[in-house]
Symmetry: D2
Amino acid sequence: VNDLRDAIKAFTEKRDWEQFHSPKNLAMALSVEVSEVVEHFQWLTQEESRNLPVNKLAEVREEIGDVMIYLTELADTLGIDPVEAAKAKLRINEEKHPATLVRGRATKYTEYS
Amino acid sequence: VNDLRDAIKAFTEKRDWEQFHSPKNLAMALSVEVSEVVEHFQWLTQEESRNLPVNKLAEVREEIGDVMIYLTELADTLGIDPVEAAKAKLRINEEKHPATLVRGRATKYTEYS
Amino acid sequence: VNDLRDAIKAFTEKRDWEQFHSPKNLAMALSVEVSEVVEHFQWLTQEESRNLPVNKLAEVREEIGDVMIYLTELADTLGIDPVEAAKAKLRINEEKHPATLVRGRATKYTEYS
Amino acid sequence: VNDLRDAIKAFTEKRDWEQFHSPKNLAMALSVEVSEVVEHFQWLTQEESRNLPVNKLAEVREEIGDVMIYLTELADTLGIDPVEAAKAKLRINEEKHPATLVRGRATKYTEYS
């Protein structure tokens, strides 16, 4: 992840693009890239989404790469380590959704059923 | 990253939530979490977005944590390593936007100016 | 629609918020509101999404209202009539996806099946 | 708006696409189309976003058309009138943000400044 962060930084600096890469703009770019992932799944059933043909999977992999690039750059610009942020958030989520209470028929998921 | 992936997997399994976490649904959840990042920046100037007060920065860090969690889980469900996918995509981007051609007044950015 | 547009304009002017409502910022706000719609559907099956309980439907109606508000304001700021834009785009889509060719097993939808 | 709704319905039925157009899928498609609007603005300054060149404005108009199409279809599938929903939500927003309290230096907008 540190290698990736440094490679992205070098990529952006070499092109003199830091001026465009404010956190506001990077957040927008991140949302655009995520939509390119969503686009692959919008008309699929959940079952189909679990069984992508290899050529589609390769396309989704590229889009996930773009999402990871912008997420890493946005986090770095704000002085945040995304992996540490995720681990910290996972601990918060552990407390918010105790396994003993939400198992299987989680309130979170079953309010519609 | 591998630790994070394993922790997320354990979190989901302990709650019996794999049934809800199809790639289609995880892509939707990822887009919802990204919007919670975007929400913090929507009314700010670019300058303000580079200088978040500490309490706002802490909130954005949590949202970035959530984005990283869903991105890691979506990628894992598809058998994709998000860091490797990003490195591969960065190499593609290097060729698509050669530094000598796009430096500073990049076509990508200057078509409006 | 014209009444709605005028009511939104009055709402924004009365609060002196035009300064924040650039097309860039309104596009971000539009995307945030759409995610609040998506959030209601992210863990549902397609079947469940067709049969929302009345309390959920009322919440989704409010979110759709917010999306329509920002879409109307963004379009107005750019001098665009959203209903006319939709009618014009529908004619383009008619030509792009001729009914005789795509009926039922539309390429657009069946590339995965 | 009623004409638009009927034209979209005819378009979808003629192609036998209702089977794919669950509220869940339409919400995803709506978010994808909104991102195509956001994409036009992601690297622009707010000032630039207020002064789009005519060729860009024509492209944004098409994307806004697509957003309006999916919003209308999603609302119709749920039995919601988007214009009425927006008017009702605007009345709620009027009460939530009283003009006398939020004028100019609105709390909503000034928490960062």
